[in-house]
């Protein structure tokens, strides 16, 4: 089936070439980082995790969001999603590949990555994160590939895939819960020490993942002969609507808890992000933009008139994807580290090489996603022919 990814029209080759150029630039910048050290990024002693880990966290969510097409189809027999489960699984694969790559580019000694497997440490959440992410990657590759191949050959997929599919559903929830547990179990970081962090991660995941999936479906309908279906897109849009509402609600709960209790340790991080603290306020416009974007997203997806208009829906999805990216990515990470445990502020701004490497990783993910989607869509087109 892989041969389907290397046959395409001019636009396909043009898009893939563009992505490969971006990947190439990112790779060259990464070589510079390997040589110099992580000092070429904007990271500091106080803010020791930044853009790479922010994107990693966000993408774990997008990967988990794929479960939102798998769950209704396999558990509740919602037949309509049968057309698009493969797209959800392939999106998950591309996202997890990006996650793992972001971790690798963030490491100070990447050549030693095997130490995580040579010296397994069950008390470390990072160890479990490695396990569940890799497990989820393999699950989706095995399931997606075999189901698609069976579909291409006109037969039912093998029986042993069923238990794997059932496992992948709670596993998807687990990858994002474990990633949240990286943060919410650390005693010195008041901004993250909240039971609602894992639920908040999941809600923003179920908004961002399906939103990206909707955009992909609309593009697929445009560039190929496969139509994912109007009903499918509308169902996904309803999922996004609920998820984004829950996400903003959870955030408002956080705001209440911090500001009604008036505990400085909890208020300071939100103050830093939304109004600035001790003269530092680089994130303020970004955070308000994120809130406004998510609010617009809520209005457009909850209102059936705007939701049913697929052009407006596309705008809503972009807006929600961006809003959740700023909130969960940059806001959560920088906000957690600032102010520092000694109550000092060293503002974190990603550097240009850092952004370049991150773009390279995103481009690589989109490369994988486009290739996989091309295979899936080609198979669907083949069957309908």
């Amino acid at each position: 089936m892989l041969e389907l990814a290397i046959k395409g029209g001019k636009k396909y080759y043009g898009w893939m070439t563009l992505l490969m150029v971006i990947v190439g630039i990112g790779f060259l910048l990464y070589l510079r980082q390997l040589d110099f050290g992580l000092g070429i990024t904007g990271l500091s002693r106080d803010v020791s995790w930044g853009f790479y880990i922010a994107n990693f966290t966000f993408l774990v969510g997008v990967a988990a969001g794929g479960v939102m097409v798998v769950l209704p189809y396999y558990l509740h027999d919602y037949k309509a999603f049968g057309k698009v489960t493969i797209l959800g699984e392939f999106l998950a694969i591309a996202s997890v590949v990006m996650c793992v790559t972001f971790i690798l580019v963030d490491l100070g000694q990447p050549a030693r990555i095997m130490n995580v497997f040579l010296y397994p440490t069950p008390n470390s959440v990072l160890f479990w994160d490695t396990v569940v992410l890799n497990g989820y990657l393999f699950l989706n590759i095995i399931i997606g590939w075999n189901v698609l191949e069976a579909e291409r050959n006109g037969v039912h997929y093998q029986k042993w895939l069923k238990p794997l599919i059932y496992i992948s559903i709670p596993w998807a929830v687990s990858i994002h819960t474990v990633t949240a547990y990286l943060y919410c179990g650390l005693p010195g970081r008041g901004f993250w020490m909240t039971a609602i962090l894992a639920p908040r991660f999941l809600s923003s995941a179920f908004a961002a993942g399906p939103a990206l999936l909707i955009l992909c479906c609309l593009i697929i309908r445009r560039v190929s002969n496969f139509d994912p279906g109007r009903e499918q897109i509308q169902s996904l849009a309803k999922i996004v609507a609920y998820a984004i509402c829950v996400n903003v609600f959870f955030f408002l709960c956080e705001v209440f808890v911090a500001f009604y209790s008036q505990i400085p340790e909890h208020m300071d991080h939100l103050k830093y992000l939304f109004v600035g603290l001790h003269g530092h306020g680089a994130y303020v416009p970004w955070m308000w933009a994120s809130m406004i974007l998510m609010l617009i997203g809520i209005i457009l997806t909850v209102n059936p008139i705007t939701r049913k208009n697929e052009t407006v829906l596309a705008v809503a999805c972009v807006v929600i994807f961006l809003g959740t990216w700023i909130d969960k990515g940059l806001g959560m990470i920088a906000g957690g580290f600032t102010p520092s445990p000694l109550h000092e502020i060293n503002e974190y701004i990603p550097s240009l090489p850092e952004i370049g490497i991150a773009l390279g990783v995103w481009a690589m993910g989109f490369l994988v996603m486009t290739a996989l989607f091309k295979i899936a869509v080609s198979v669907k087109e083949e069957i309908r022919a």
């Binding site: 000092g39 002693r45 995790w49 100070g108 000694q109 990447p110 440490t121 990072l126 490695t130």
Partner: protein, 262 residues
């Protein structure tokens, strides 16, 4: 090849024979080498021992940042801690700060003047329940069973910086670049570190192993006391018994081993 039972049995027989060649060779090889006595590993005769090393800092003995300089200089010099100009990349094992930075939960609007003016020495607290050790995915950061020091194995560290996120005291530094160009005078008896690993105070484990107290304690002229927290007769226990001491962020339950007389 026909897949009859005979063929399969022949194949199994040949495979079994092949599998035995290595052990047979090894057995023959062993006979050539003369048997050597085993080597032994032990601690040095002068090495200091404790169940949990702890430190008591009498902050009343320091008036200004200048008083802390010799201690910080002693520590950073013997451990080849680099001096980087870029504040984002700075590495510090021991440093001085203000009251409301060292003890953020205890800050007050109106404080005794002398408490407010004093500098406060901060370092890794070598907690008894360290969150950084819980976080490390490779056990590169671990709590030594022999003496309770939270130690770093720079060979194993993958530079993920999870321990830095986990530390509630901001005690850890990361090598954002090669530190060697920034070391003024290399102490050849202690290794430098490489880029991409985390480092922090090690309670001078290499000095304790040869019967010496940590460099900062020795330089402090009595302002710092060092000893076994679980030895009721040690200096640190005496000071804790007779003075009111506080520790940083006590409510988090990490059980820091560095006490402050304020």
């Amino acid at each position: 090849m026909d897949s009859s039972r005979r063929r399969i049995l022949q194949l199994l027989g040949v495979s079994a024979l092949a599998l035995t060649t290595r052990p047979v060779f090894n057995a023959f090889a062993k006979e050539e080498v003369a048997a050597e006595a085993e080597s032994v590993i032990k601690a040095g005769a002068k090495s200091l021992k404790a169940k949990q090393w702890a430190m008591v800092i009498d902050t009343r003995k320091f008036d200004s940042e200048a008083d802390l300089e010799p201690l910080i200089e002693a520590c950073h010099k013997i451990h080849n801690v680099p001096r980087l100009q870029n504040k984002r990349h700075e590495i510090k094992w021991l440093w001085g700060t203000h009251y409301h930075n060292a003890f953020p939960g205890k800050a007050a609007q109106f404080l005794a003047e002398k408490v407010e003016q004093r500098p406060y020495l901060v370092l890794c607290n070598h907690c008894e329940n360290p969150p950084c050790v819980r976080a490390c995915p490779t056990k590169a950061t671990f709590k030594r069973e022999s003496d309770g020091i939270v130690f770093m194995d720079f060979h194993r560290c993958i530079g993920c910086r999870f321990c830095m996120a986990a530390c509630p005291f901001g005690a850890r530094s990361f090598n954002f670049r090669d530190p060697r160009p920034f070391i003024a005078e290399t102490n050849k008896e202690f290794p430098t570190r490489m880029k991409g690993v985390v480092e922090k105070c090690n309670f001078c484990a290499e000095r304790l192993a040869v019967g010496q107290l940590p460099a900062c304690v020795e330089t402090s002229k009595g302002a710092l006391a060092f000893g076994d927290l679980y030895d009721a007769k040690s200096d640190v226990r005496k000071l804790i018994r007779t003075n009111y001491t506080i520790r940083r962020k006590q409510t988090l339950g990490t059980e820091p081993s560095v006490y402050y007389i304020v």
